[in-house]
Every structure is written in C-alpha cells, then in structure tokens.
Amino acid sequence: MKSKSLALFLAIVLLISFFAYIAFFGLNIGKYEIVPAKDLIKLGLDLRGGVTVLLEAKDNPEDPVNDEKMGRAVATIRERIDTLGVTEPVITRIGADRIEVQLPEIQDPERALDLIGQTAQLEFIEEETGTVIITGNDVKKAQAEFGQSNDGLGQAPVVAFELSADGAKRFAEATERNIGKIIGIYLDDNPISMPTVQSIIPDGKGIITGSASMEEAGDLATLIRAGALPVSLDTLSVTAVGPQLGANSFEQSVNAGKIGIVLVFIFMIFYYRLPGLIADITLVLYLTLTLFVLAALKATLTLPGIAGLVLSVGMAVDANVIIYERIKDELHLGKTFRAAIESGFRRAFLTIFDANFTTIIACVILFYFGSGPIRGFAVTLIVGVTISMFTAITITKILMKLLTQSGMLKCMKYFGERGVK
C-alpha cells in the first residue's frame, strides 16, 4: 500500500513534468513533431509589432453611412492592403460605423497608413470648365510601369491605366474638345498631374506621371484599382509598435514573469514545506494547462495578458493557501491527518468557489468593456482562475492523499509548524 501510493504519486508528478515539457519545449520523435504549446499562442501586435488603426466613417447627411457601404469599404481596404504583402492582416468592423485594421509585423507603418485612410477618389477634370470627365469608377486597369516622364526626356515611374468602354468613349470626346488644354488628374481633390492634351485618346489608355518612385507609382495604381472608399474615413487612433521593440517587450516581460513565479514557488516551499512543494507541482500543471487552453482558444497573448498570467499564478496559489490553512485548522481541532485532509478540502471548496466566482464576474465585465490588449488580460485571468480551481482542488487533493498514504506526510510538522503534533 505504502510503496504503491508513492509510486503512483511519482507517476503523476512525472506525467505533469512530461506535459509541462511538451508545453514549453515541444517534442520531436522521428518524423512526428509536437510544437510547444507556447508557440501556438498568437502574440498581440504589442508583442510582435505592427500597426492597429481605428477608422470611423464620417457621417454625411446627403449620403448617409449604411451597412452596404461599410461592407464595401472593408473590401476596398482589404484590396489595398493586399499589395503591402502583410501576413495575416485583420480587418474588422466595429459597431455601425467603425473599421479596425490590424497589420502585424509591418516595417513601414507610414506607407500602410497612407494606403488605408485615403478616400482615393480619382477624378479627371476639364480645367477650363471644371467638369468631371471620368472618375476612378471608370478605370478598368491600373498598373505601375516605366514610361515617358513629364519632361519628355528619359523614363520615369508612371501609372498606366485603361478605361472601361463607356469611360473610354467619354475620355475620347473630352480629349478631342481639349487639345492644347489641360485635363487635371486629382486624387481626393489634390492635383497629382496636370497634363496638356496633345492628341485625341480614342482607346481609353493613358498614363499618369508625377510619381517619385516605382513604389509610389505602385501604391497609386493600387488606390486607383481598388477604387475609392464609398465613405470617407476619419482616423480615430493609430498604434504602431516597432517589431524589434515588441520582441524586446515580450522577452523582458516573460523574464520578469518567470522570476516572479519562481519567487512564489520558493515562498510556498519555505512557508508550507512538503505541502508547499505539492502546491508548486500543481502550479506547474496549472501553467501548462493554461498554455494549452489559451492555445486551443486561439487566444491572443498581449502584454497586459502576460501580466494577467503572472498575476493569476499569484492568485492560483490562493486556493492552495486556503486549503492548507483549513487543514491546519482541522488538525488543531485534533483530527487525524487523513480526516483533516478530507474535511479541509470539503470545507475549502465552497470558499474557493465563491471567492473565485466574484473574480470571474469582474473579469467578464472587463472583457466585455475592454478593448484590444485589455481583453487579452481579461481572457488570461478568466482562464487562469477557472483552471486554478481545478488544479488546486482536484490535483492537490490526490497528491496530498497519496503522500499521506505512502507515509511521507504524517503530521503538522510537515506544514512547517513546530511545537504542535
């Protein structure tokens, strides 16, 4: 009985270590590879770097914002972003009139911001009369290429465009009317090129000069191709985190967290001795399970999320502390060790449940009202508190019982208290 209990105890500890190892380091057996759970957890943009932009549609009484327009705006923005070659851009509609754009690991936030926010209403305007001849909607194709520059000497980056049949017809008529005169090309009311019409353009093909670089021409072509936003958007907030800075934050915070957690481990052993060690073993399981659950939920780990995780370790210990103090009380009442463990756990359960449930109430509210990184914090805390109830109550109990049966854990002095039997 004694050695069997001890063997079972050691087996459980070994199993926990095994899972913890997989969670943190992964496993590589032949051609089968288990990726560490910690690598499956998505990092927030505050840790991996990137740009988050919150845009709001300007309400125009003549042309009110509606669902369909917002949908088109999202599609347009997505098309523009595609040219940036960003991995996993996330574009979400928030509420009735907002759009959030998240671009991970982007190196050049300025270029992205230029591409996203512009309405990009392209207009060809007859200078003489001020009438709009064609708009971006008439453009069928647009691409950047090298073409003849403004001064007619040498090559320069230009945007070559092709109009739809209808647009081509109107453009032909307009060029005919305006030979020797200027047809201005405007983007959001800013002149980008003011060419003088040399001859009739019948086929609807032309070029826009004035781009400083091939990249700039490419972006302009994208804006024209994707079309104008159906609504004009105000930028409400921009968060751009340098990837290097984000990576440093991650590393430094994780290290700070590790030190904090190790200190808690030491504190528990120092204060509660052998039961303290058991608490630490369950804490390892707790951390492992939390990582797995966060990975399974596809939760995003943010900087405040790391704080939440570390804090939750401090709080997870609480369940162990409550149980141990309870068992000590029962022992003081003169119960046997085994009976004290039984009633200690039974009585501590409701206390722990009530106490943690209120914490979860606060966290759910935090999740509901928080945004971005703060939500990540709420999620880790909710997951953490829930799992800690399971590990602290169930696993601690099993381990305590096994150790008691094996004769390793006998009386009060194993709790580090002297002078009491």
Binding site: A256, L303, V310, G314, V321, D329, T359, I365
Partner: protein, 295 residues
C-alpha cells in the same frame, strides 16, 4: 494563534482609511482632478529604443517644433529608451516627420520605434464605458454576495471595494500619474481580487455563526475570531500576489509597469480593506439594521 481584537480598534482602521481618502480628495481638488492620459483625452506617445546614452534636451529639440509641452521620460533598464507623451493627436504626416527625425538623429531602424495616437472621441467613450463597467461590477458582485450570503454582507463588501477604488484614485490624484485604460483594467482586477479576499473572511464568519447555533452570539468576538483565523491566508495570498506584481514592476517594460503600479496599490488596499474594513463594517451594519427574528 491568539485572537486579535480587530473590532476594538475599528475606529482606528476606519480613521486611517478616511484620512487617506481625505488627503486624496484634497489633492484631487488642488490639482484640479486627475491627470487624464491620452487614452481619455486623446494625444500621442512615442516610445523609442535609442540604444545608447542620450540627453532629454536632444529629444526636446526634436519635439519643440511639434509640442513644446510634451513630457519626455527615460525608460528601459539602461535608460537607453525614451517615452514622449503629448496631448496632441498627430496626423499621419506629422507622425512620419517625427519618426524620421528620430531615425535620422540616432540612426535607428523604424522597427525600434512605437507610435500611438488616439483621437479625443475614443477617449470620451472610454470614460463612459469605464464608469459603466465599474458600476456593473459593483452590481454583479452585490447581487452574488447577497444571494450567497445576505445583503448586509453584500453592502459591506461593496463598501470595501469602493474603498479600494477610492484609494487607487487617491494615489493617482496625489502622484498625478496619467490615468489610462490600463488603470481601469487594474481597478477591475483589484475589485475581483479584493472581493475574493473579503469573501474568504465572510465565509469564515458565516461558518462560525453556524457553529454557535442556539447560543447568544457576541458578534464583536465572532468577527475577531474569524478574521484572526483567516489572517494567515489573507497575508500569504497578498504576499504571493505582491511578489509576482513586484517582479513585473521592477523588471518589466514601461507598458507593464503602467498596469503593475496601480495593482500594487490596489492589492495592499484590498488586503487592508478586506481584513480591517469589511467585517467590522458588517457588524456595524448588523447593529444598525437588525433583521426581525435575529438573536
């Protein structure tokens, strides 16, 4: 453990808290309110790893053109990072200019710079949402505690929570630290944490009442016994939590410090209020509002 007479000194505990809150209120009035950060009033912040020693005056030279009132602080363990905060929400163009000024001056890669801009609209919403969130948390906890215990426990625990929130606000009013979204997150976390501690004590009180069944109960003594019995737990849990938060505060990055600092204040206040305020207040409430049929 010898029973400590918490009830006897309850006026002292209440007095200490009220004094602190009064000081906070005075500072709040003198300073004309809290120092609302960019999350609430809009503004911009720039965080850059310069990677070598630099002078604040150099950064000031760059920023003067855009906002002479910008606050510039060192960050990072080696003081090789800078955080610039301003109440102006820069547009894309200005932002690009400033980033360029930094990268050129210190020959940095732009991946070592973070930039955040928040417009004032978002801030107003945050303020409103924060208030709703706090109220909802109070109501939710009040309902749950009243349901699991009884309403006077609920009221006493809410009073302890309001105490913690007020102490945290007082700390920010006195130190004039910018209040941002993370502060609200810290407030809600502390509410969840402090109520946790209070409930453990209330649970003990409830249990001790049950075991006294039929006898006349001396509530002062009952609370003294209950709080003493749970004192180890109250202290140990606060210690373990404080250990982790201190590690984050001293070793973490600025964004983590922003959330760790209010939590340190809150955990200490939460420990104080659940041990020394909530239970004595419950006895006071109990005397004032006696239930019919109560012994």
């Amino acid at each position: 453990m010898k029973t400590i007479n918490f009830m006897g000194a309850r006026k002292l505990w209440f007095g200490i808290s009220l004094t602190l809150l009064a000081v906070g209120l005075i500072f709040l009035i003198i300073n004309g309110g809290l120092n609302l950060g960019m999350d609430f009033v809009g503004g911009s912040s720039i965080h850059a790893t310069i990677g070598k020693a630099f002078e604040v005056s150099e950064i000031r030279d760059i920023m003067d053109k855009y906002d002479p009132n910008a606050t510039i602080t060192y960050a990072g363990q080696n003081r090789d990072q800078v955080i610039v905060r301003t109440k102006i929400s820069f547009d894309n163009e200005k932002r690009a200019e400033i980033v360029k000024a930094f990268t050129e001056k210190y020959s940095l890669e732009s991946n070592n710079i973070s930039f955040e801009t928040i417009g004032p609209t978002v801030g107003k919403e945050l303020a409103k949402q924060s208030l709703i969130a706090l109220l909802l948390a109070f109501v939710g906890i009040m309902v749950y505690v009243s349901f699991r215990f009884e309403w006077r426990f609920g009221l006493a625990s809410i009073a302890a929570l309001i105490h913690d929130v007020a102490i945290m606000v007082a700390a920010y009013a006195i130190l004039q630290i910018p209040v941002n979204g993370t502060f609200i997150a810290a407030l809600l976390t502390i509410i969840g944490y402090s109520i946790n501690a209070t409930i453990v004590i209330f649970d003990k009180i409830r249990e001790n009442i049950k075991s006294e069944r039929g006898r006349k109960i001396d509530y002062d003594n009952l609370v003294n016994v209950s709080v003493t019995q749970t004192l180890n737990r109250s202290i140990n849990t606060s210690l373990t939590t404080l250990i982790t938060i201190f590690a984050l505060y001293f070793l973490g990055v600025p964004a983590i410090k922003d959330i760790a600092f209010p939590m340190i204040v809150g955990i200490i206040s939460g420990c104080y209020s659940s041990v020394l305020i909530a239970s004595p207040l419950w006895v006071v409430l109990r005397r004032r509002f006696k239930v019919s049929g109560a012994r």
